[in-house]
């Protein structure tokens, strides 16, 4: 069942077009990612989904409703974590949760939420005294305190250290396992690859690809890369003749072979048949980051 449907969304600001044409649907219970570089139109898209902005064209349905017209109803059922949104410095953690919980008819169990997010010993700490990671986790807690059906999370691990990022990822998986549909915006490809069931790759206001991370990676004709040092002279032609191989490159004494399918077996059997021992053999799988570069022609993280 589809809980979010975005069709040919278009949004223009005074001086530039933020979203040219974006369409995607999110199924109930999945973690759906919108990935792309800064300025690709990701945040504008989810702000239209949240009803914070009015689209200039196209249509959006969230839980079958229009975010602008039925905003009052939707705000009960959709939790949001905004990029760069704070709380008053002197508000304590428990006060923030208590306040936000009071906005909803059937709030989630605050005590459990606070423990799940590892803020149990910070209940009495004021927002201004929390670390960046703790602020981010509180912000996630506030998005979930209304017990929403959909959580929209914008750049949820920006500014977190590697450990905190991993903890946050585990948490989001728990949230999904609890039955919440998650719409995630990120410019970190590793995050999208780890968390998302499906991702829409957005570049310059358009969706350039939409699939599961593994399918996007497999689609590349250089999804795998093998590096080795041949112990005896090797004729590149032997490898290029293989259907699985896309390219063969020399890197000093090292041979780098890229390709798809059962590349490793194809290469090693040719080497075995020719009695060439491959030293320091390594197989590298391409990541979503590589797929992203292949799809858009530039790197994801520009900063």
């Amino acid at each position: 069942m589809q809980v979010i449907e975005v069709d040919n969304l278009r949004k223009q600001y005074r001086d530039h077009v933020a979203v040219q044409d974006i369409s995607f649907t999110v199924e109930r219970g999945e973690i759906f990612g919108i990935v792309g570089p800064n300025g690709a139109g990701k945040t504008t898209t989810v702000e239209c989904v949240e009803g914070l902005r009015t689209p200039d064209g196209g249509s959006i349905k969230v839980l079958g409703m229009d975010p602008r017209r039925d905003g009052a109803e939707l705000r009960h059922r959709v939790g949001a974590q905004l990029q760069e949104s704070a709380l008053p410095d002197r508000m304590k953690v428990w006060e923030a949760l208590d306040l936000y919980a009071s906005f909803y008819p059937r709030p989630a169990d605050q005590r459990r939420l606070i423990d799940d997010l590892g803020l149990g010993d910070k209940r009495e700490t004021t927002f201004g005294k929390l670390s960046g990671g703790q602020k981010q986790r509180l912000s996630i807690a506030l998005a979930l305190v209304g017990d929403p059906e959909i959580a929209v999370l914008d750049e949820l691990t920006s500014g977190l250290d590697p450990n905190a990022r991993r903890d946050t990822w585990d948490l989001i998986e728990q949230v999904r396992d609890g039955g919440v549909t998650v719409l995630l915006v990120t410019h970190f490809m590793d995050e999208a690859e780890r968390l998302c069931d499906r991702v829409a790759v957005v570049d310059a206001g358009r969706v350039v690809a939409l699939d599961s991370p593994s399918s996007l990676i497999a689609r590349m004709d250089t999804a795998q890369r093998i590096r080795f040092r041949p112990a005896s002279p090797l004729d590149d032609g032997l490898l290029i003749a293989l259907p699985e191989v896309r390219s063969v490159r020399r890197n000093g004494v090292q041979v780098v072979v890229t390709g798809t399918g059962n590349l490793l077996q194809a290469v090693t059997s040719v080497l075995a048949r020719n009695q060439i021992v491959a030293a320091d053999l390594r197989l590298e799988q391409a990541s979503l980051d590589d797929a992203y570069v292949a799809l858009t022609g530039h790197a994801a993280v520009s900063d």
């Binding site: 959709v78 939790g79 949104s85 006060e95 906005f103 506030l142």
Partner: protein
Amino acid sequence: MTGLPRLTFMELKLFLREPLAVFFAVAFPALLVGILGSVPGFREPKQDIGGLRVIDLYVPIAIAFVLVMLSLNLVPATLATYRERGILRRLATTPVGPTALLAAQMLMSLLMAVGAVLLVLAVGRLAFDVALPQQPTGFALAFVLGAAAVFAMGLVLAAVAPSARSAQGFGTVLFFPVMFFAGLWVPRAAMPGTLRDISDFTPLGATVQALQDAAAGAWPQALHLAVMAAYAVVFGLVAVRTFRWQ
């Protein structure tokens, strides 16, 4: 508007955690009355100010001070901070909405203003025998209209200030002319005629005179009530048209 009582209570708690703001807006005006009242000469009736004592004039001025601190300094800076830090936007994604926070902040400030005014009246009455307002309804009306006028101005300030810092700066700059015409440095009764005529048309000049008249037992003059109402309506409309949530 759901959530308003909770938000107002929260705003009150947050305000009380800012000792400096609490001091200047709530305690300082009463303290000012206390200090001026300690000057013996200010407790003597003076012919040149209509047979009143200086301390009698300063009770309404201290009330004007309360209103200015809250409406032009505290509220605009707080609201601009809330906008700058995305707090209003964040609330826009909840069932409560940002208008409720705006209303809660105003309500909290009005509660504080009422508290500070009672404190000023109590100090005046108990320490220096300043009579309580003889025309309480007129006094309350003058207070409410005066508050509406300056709070509407504060909202416009919050709307047009590009940042919290500039809201604070503008508030401080506005403080001097507004309080000058309210008579903080030269009470209206001691002002030259032209200056007092100008003061009649400033929001707090009108408020102070209306409070003064009601304190003495008369109904506030129509001119002053009209001036306060006009400021409230004009600035209120401008605020509604210009306020940005993000």
